[in-house]
Symmetry: C2
Subunit: 454 residues, 2 copies
């Protein structure tokens, strides 16, 4: 990015426009749905876009976490939208309830609710993209957090300017730049006290890691921010190299993939290339390393992932979809009281619902019997599965749910689902589906209880 | 790396061997010259290698910075070498003098002296490599420091296991692992108090940045260390992609290189590819961006680097070596009292040396006249130039000297040298050559004074 003077509003807007052009954010005429909490960053974003002649609408989430303060923020944003003369949308959430229903932290719950609603609203209003006010420091913090947890090259691109319908037009600017703009334009904002000081959040970095770093390297955020741009481009070149190897080494025949042993052995760096080629077949770095060991093993040896089996043939590694994963189905007929499955047992009872509160127990499902149609089916989850998680009442991919729950691959491999008429009723041991929940109008309930047998 | 138990010496040594094999450090029969300060890390390294049956010799630098303590450390290492029954080498340095002569920090001075002597000693003793005791945390700190200053993908590989004749066999181990080995083997060591707590050194990271990081991510060093290994492999793939573009886009004809404008315009990511293709011609990211701008400019426009001119032709970017850089030579005849150069003037006077101390002034050179042979020559420095910096009395490349002095590219472009009979006498305005210095035996001195004229 060329430098700009944040205190000169016109210069800031030129920089914004240049960044949006470069990242192909908001093409001419596109209307952006801007998420505004009322804090400095989001107020600056909405004001900047509006003042640059880019059509916007404003969306505000009221998480009802801070009593009157939440109401105050909502009023502030409503008035701000009125001043700009742009449409205003608001949604109230019962964040605490959603968090406890889904066993999520308040932060996770707020995050899920926010993004789900913003996307829903974007589709309803027919707008082009949702814009959030993430800035350079957010992105730098993301990079540091990834590094501290351990990451590969994709952990270095920080927060992306564009992800599907989500855009971040402020990534070129620092917190200080934004503060400069707010001052220059004399813009009011509300103090955002919703950021809990959780050890594992970016707040920890902001308050405990950044200050000593800044002491030694005053320009650390901008320098790391510039590095992130270089890492993004490096990642593109890396991906080009990977795709070259994929084209040369992975051959599809029907449902199977063939990789020549001798040629794979010769590539360098082997570990990373093997990981990238096998990732689509369910390999993490650990499983990919096992697959590399197959190169020195005898024919017939194999590695199994959640979705595929990688078999050492004489000349090839042959990658086959796991038929078992798709074929293990267990039916439950009406009136059946027990099902035995690999590693666990399900007991069932039906009873009249007396209106008592439903206990929160991940291993027991209380279902609205009138919504179910027999036979029910129990099977392993598969890619593409989705449900309407309890409390969210919005479609969500299971793969996405597992990411939120931070499930490891072995944990994911063990997940079973209960289905009724091709609709997922229960991600077993984890999350009920909203459509089958017990409500005050429920008369008859079916209770399923899960117990391990080994 | 597979995990190992640092308290089990055999397991630690197996891990060492595995790491050395993987990184091709110290092939069978090779003897390593191990740098031992007497601190825990270097004692552990020497002991580990010796106990693993790898032939070693021990080298100790006495920087004479801490009075008796320095002598104590030397004695300790000498005794340690005697215990292991391996050859022991020591060199005493006047680090303070070297630092002030070269305008270096004590740390920089010690580093220069150390590596220069170790390499000298390695060549003299005919050994295969110099081994230093850098460990995983050192490498992780290097990565964090690079990130804070701003870096590209090559700043992410941390400390390399192998660089020329220099090897680091302990990079797979953490400080804690090494402490475990020292305890298990009941090894003594001396406390290394020579690490000044400079804000810009790794000590700052160790004491002020790492502790809060470790608080939130106890495993941060090992996780970042594992990431470094992945980044190294990612960098290899990145380089492969770059070399593919170089082969496709850069064509050599005589002394010139041709890059097709239309094809270069189409590559993605353009900024990074252009930077990598033009780096060998003296481009930094800034100059490379200017060269990218040439793609949209009219024929005849050009960008000049320290070594080349990149000219926009109708269909090509043509890269031509700067003839000027090589041809600008100014001769000084015996008795000449003044030379005018682009931007500055040199005045000369000859006088009898009366034994007074030589003032330290970078813009004035006091030379031993009897070592000079006229005509002297003044020219721009060029790649491959070397001198014997005052105080070091050892050959050193100018490019290396500039790195130590942290010269920017524009600063480097402005460096002139004074030559006598093809030997560099003075890196002008920066450093005298040891061979032409004034000593107590000097009778006649030539004084050159540099003054800017614009």
């Amino acid at each position: 990015m060329k430098t700009f003077n944040p205190f000169d509003a016109a210069s800031f807007r030129t920089a914004l426009r240049a960044f949006m052009d470069r990242e192909a954010i908001g093409p001419a005429g596109a209307t952006l749905l801007v998420a505004v909490s009322g804090g400095a960053d989001s107020v600056a974003l909405a004001h900047l876009l509006h003042a640059s002649g880019i059509p916007i609408q404003i969306a505000h989430c009221n998480f009802r976490l801070r009593g009157e303060e939440s109401g105050r923020d909502e009023t502030f944003v409503r008035n701000f939208a009125a001043q700009l003369n742009v449409p205003f949308h608001v949604r109230h959430f019962d964040t605490n309830e959603y968090a406890s229903a889904g066993k999520l932290s308040i932060q996770e719950a707020a995050r899920e609710l926010r993004y789900a609603w913003l996307e829903e609203l974007r589709v309803q209003t027919g707008l082009d993209a949702v814009a959030t006010a993430h800035h350079m420091q957010d992105s730098v913090e993301t990079l540091w957090m990834n590094l501290s947890k351990g990451t590969g090259i994709s952990g270095l691109h920080g927060i992306l300017p564009k992800q599907g319908a989500l855009v971040r037009p402020l990534l070129f600017a620092t917190r200080e730049d934004i503060a400069g703009y707010m001052m220059a334009e004399q813009l009011a904002f509300v103090e955002d006290s919703s950021n809990a000081s959780d050890k594992y959040t970016r707040n920890y970095f902001r308050h405990h890691v950044l200050p000593p770093l800044r002491e030694a390297y005053p320009d650390v955020v901008r320098q790391t921010g510039a590095s992130i741009q270089r890492f993004r481009e490096a990642e593109m070149l890396y991906q080009q190299a990977v795709e070259g190897y994929r084209k040369k080494l992975v051959e599809k025949k029907g449902e199977e993939y063939f990789i020549p042993v001798l040629k794979l052995k010769q590539v360098r760096p082997l570990a990373t290339i093997a990981y990238e080629l096998l990732k689509p077949f369910g390999c993490n770095t650990h499983l990919a390393a096992q697959a590399v060991d197959l190169l020195e093993a005898g024919p017939g040896k194999f590695v199994t992932t959640a979705t595929h089996r990688i078999v050492r043939d004489r000349k090839w590694l042959i990658v086959t979809p796991l038929q078992e994963a798709l074929s293990a189905h267990f039916l439950i007929e009406a009136g059946q009281r027990e099902v035995l499955l690999p590693g666990f047992r399900i007991t069932l009872r039906e009873e009249k619902y007396d209106g008592r509160p439903i206990p929160a127990d991940a291993d027991v499902a209380y279902l609205n019997a009138s919504e179910l149609s027999f036979p029910l089916m129990i099977r392993k989850w598969k890619t593409g599965d989705y449900c309407y998680p309890l409390g969210l009442n919005k479609k969500k991919k299971l793969s996405r749910l597992f990411i939120d729950q931070k499930l490891s691959l072995p944990e994911k491999e063990k997940v079973w689902v209960l289905e009724s008429d091709k609709r997922i009723v229960w991600v077993m041991g984890m999350r009920l589906d909203h459509r089958f929940r017990v409500t005050e109008h429920t008369e008859q309930i079916l209770v399923l209880k899960m117990e391990t047998t080994r």
